[in-house]
Amino acid sequence: MLHGPAQDSGPDPATGYKGRIGLVMFIVYCVVYAGFVFVNVLTEGRAMQIIVLFGLNLAVVYGMGLIVFALALALVYNHLCTKKEREVAGGNAGKGRES
């Protein structure tokens, strides 16, 4: 089972759609990540020590938040991609437009 030839998965009509939402989500995350970097640089670290939640400072909350946000975006992305893949596999109207 493990060692047949590498499989050709064939054409994927949802590629265009997945590429577009991937790019949008990538840009969204980039902006949030850049926010973390530039808040630290522009305030010379002072903003990072402000206590913002449950006794935790901005550095900890923002840092942990970036990790959790990555997972949340990934799950949303997978949901949208899977939904689209099912739609095009079912041969609905979106098929022609997305390929």
Binding site: H3, S9, G45, I51, Y77
Partner: protein, 632 residues
């Protein structure tokens, strides 16, 4: 610092190694074809592949390096966790599915898919080798650090041990055994890191942490003596030399080093010279790391400890402005006789400073700001450009499976990186930091909870190195056998010859890794991996992104981008302050420039090279029509 191996740690270690070798033997019979050897036949389940991604990615740099850096520098180490995880977003949204669609065995396959260019094959294969070697050095270094306390063996023995085992894994069964070794190790790492974090939270915080026991059962924790210059003189210490904040005192013929703090106190430091450690030939450096004051508690209550804390409560206590954590740093000083000493000294920092960036990655001057942005840029863009990560996309059956396995990886890796903060801070406050080599902080933290947990965690850490090194060597051997020998040199290898060439290449790369692992001993492994990310981000990612999103990209543009990325990133690293102060044995001030991290210059340069060269090498419309007709 020597702890020696216990029979239990040796038995558990031997069990892990035997299990790994059994997996290799078991899968060897099934890896006869090139597809089986380089891509596990493309039939790994996405969930298994996701955890294997974690096993591949959570290397010595993550477990040993990040925990060690957090233990000695506080939040600065956690920046690596954030950046390493954020990089997976690039992999998921931009790279995962196209890589699976375009490639077959290697990173080179994917970037060359549209062009069939010998130039791309050559430079992409070289880039794979350069990044893999940059990444291998810290892994081997980490292995050496592990075997010293685990088995009581010298550092170089650990490096050779890993090299031999990994060469065996890779050369017997290639990507299949590598995948299952990584799956096993990734799963165990997550489980036992969770257990270790739970133990840290249950213990809570105390100004009197339990000490690691020495071989004779006596506590090893080094609690530095505080004094003043006057008190030392009264006590019979004679000052023989002053070097900045450091003073050398001699009493009864014994050398001691003390460091003055901002309040005028002097703190007795540990030290090491070429011939002695803490005043004795072959003497010991003692474990360090404690909390001097717990914010919100008086001295008695802090000595009794907080008791169990929630994750948020634990971090909040450490962030409290009245909390004081004793960090340990090192400095090189020269005495009146010209003898060189490495002095390990304590420095109390407030909770506020401990839990925000700024101890190592300061952002006051322009260069410091550039260094910080550069690091975060390299970590973000490096992940999706690491050859050993990219080849894992070929082990699943479809682009959708590539996507799903990336999401499993993000969940597993993200969870682990949250744990690194607790494990690193746990080591910093439980007296389990080796001042000369912080890479062992997490395993030593486990030792403070007993020998069983230490033995298991150390064996998993060793397996961590095995899994990552195996992945790197598969990537490097694919670059040599598949990209260079078969496709670039067009040697026309048969399937079996390609597998055999891959195994020989794995052996060669393994030997190189062993030698470099011994040479680069003692440098924080995560710091070294940061450089590998920078080289990958500059050399590979611009090519991948532009190939996907800019239709005017040409083969020559990609070649230029990869070459400029490698040369610029390596050039900046090799002429920068970290190399001068470290491997070159000079000072940071002698470096050619103050930039320690190359990403901020090398990545844009690589993009620029691609755009400029692509624009000047565009095919004319007539040529395009001919090319289109030829390709149908």
């Amino acid at each position: 610092m020597k702890l020696g191996g216990t029979p239990l740690s040796i038995v558990i270690f031997a069990f892990f190694v035997a299990l790994v070798l059994f997996l290799s033997y078991y899968f060897a019979r099934r890896a006869k074809s090139a597809a089986g050897y380089y891509a596990a036949g493309g039939q790994i389940h996405w969930a298994v592949n996701g955890i294997s991604f974690a096993g591949d990615y959570l290397s010595a740099a993550s477990f040993l390096g990040i925990c060690g850096m957090i233990a000695t520098l506080g939040y600065d180490g956690f920046l690596y966790s954030i950046g390493y995880l954020a990089g997976w977003i690039v992999a998921l949204f931009v790279v995962a599915e196209p890589m699976k669609r375009m490639g077959k065995f290697t990173f080179t396959d994917a970037v060359d898919a549209k062009y069939d260019s010998r130039g791309i094959k050559l430079v992409a294969a070289i880039s794979t080798l350069v990044v893999s070697v940059c990444y291998l050095i810290p892994q081997m270094n980490g292995a050496g650090s592990l075997v010293e306390p685990l088995l009581g063996l010298p550092h170089w023995v650990g490096v050779i041990l890993v090299g031999v085992i990994v060469i065996t894994i890779v050369s017997t069964a290639g990507m299949t055994s590598t995948t299952y070794v990584q799956f096993l190790k990734g799963g165990l790492l997550l489980i036992f890191s969770t257990i270790l974090t739970g133990a840290v939270l249950v213990r809570g915080l105390s100004t009197e942490p339990p000490s690691l026991p020495g071989p004779d059962g006596k506590p090893l924790l080094y609690v530095p003596e505080r004094s003043t210059v006057d008190e030392l003189e009264v006590a019979g210490y004679a000052r023989s030399h002053v070097a900045g904040d450091f003073s050398k005192y001699v009493k009864d013929g014994k050398v001691t080093w003390w460091r003055r703090d901002a309040e005028g106190h002097v703190w007795r430091s540990q030290w090491k010279s070429a011939t002695e450690t803490n005043g004795e030939p072959g003497g010991l450096l003692y474990p360090v790391g404690r909390i001097r004051q717990v914010g919100g508690l008086d001295a008695d209550a802090a000595a009794r400890g907080t008791g169990p804390l929630s994750p948020v409560g634990y971090l909040a206590r450490l962030t409290h402005p009245d909390t004081r954590v004793e960090q340990w740093h090192q400095a090189s000083v020269v005495d009146e006789a010209g003898t060189k000493y490495t002095v390990f000294y304590p420095k109390a920092v407030s909770g506020t400073d401990q839990m925000k960036p700024g101890v190592k990655f300061k952002v006051k001057t322009l260069w410091e700001k550039l260094n910080f942005v550069s690091l975060m840029l390299a970590l973000f863009f490096g992940t999706a450009a690491l050859p050993h990560i990219l080849i894992r996309y070929y082990t699943v059956p479809s682009p959708a499976c590539a996507r799903k396995s990336t999401i499993v990886a993000i969940a597993a890796i993200g969870f682990f990186y949250v744990l690194t903060l607790f494990m690193g801070l746990g080591a910093a406050t439980n007296g389990t930091v080796n001042p000369a080599d912080n890479n062992m902080s997490a395993p030593l933290l486990a030792l403070s909870f007993g020998g069983v947990l230490f033995a298991i965690i150390s064996a998993i850490a060793f397996a961590t190195v095995l899994g990552t090194v195996a992945g790197l060597i598969v990537a490097a051997s694919g670059a040599v056998a598949h990209d260079l020998m078969d496709r670039f040199a067009q040697m026309g290898l048969t399937d079996q010859q390609k597998v055999r060439a891959g195994k020989v290449a794995a052996f060669g790369v393994g030997i190189v890794a062993i030698v470099l692992g011994i040479v680069f001993r003692g440098i924080n492994v995560s710091f070294l991996v940061g450089w590998a990310f920078a080289v990958a981000a500059a050399a590979n990612l611009p090519a991948i992104l532009m190939l996907l999103f800019w239709k005017r990209t040409t083969a020559k543009g990609i070649v230029a981008s990869i070459v400029v990325g490698i040369v610029a990133s390596l050039g900046i690293i090799l002429t920068g302050p970290e190399m001068f102060a470290g491997p070159y044995g000079l000072t940071a001030a002698q470096a050619w420039h103050p930039l320690g991290q190359p990403g901020i210059i090398a990545i844009p340069l690589s993009f620029l090279a691609l755009v400029v060269v692509s624009l000047v090498t565009q095919k004319k419309p007539a040529e395009q029509r001919v090319a289109s007709a030829a390709t149908g």
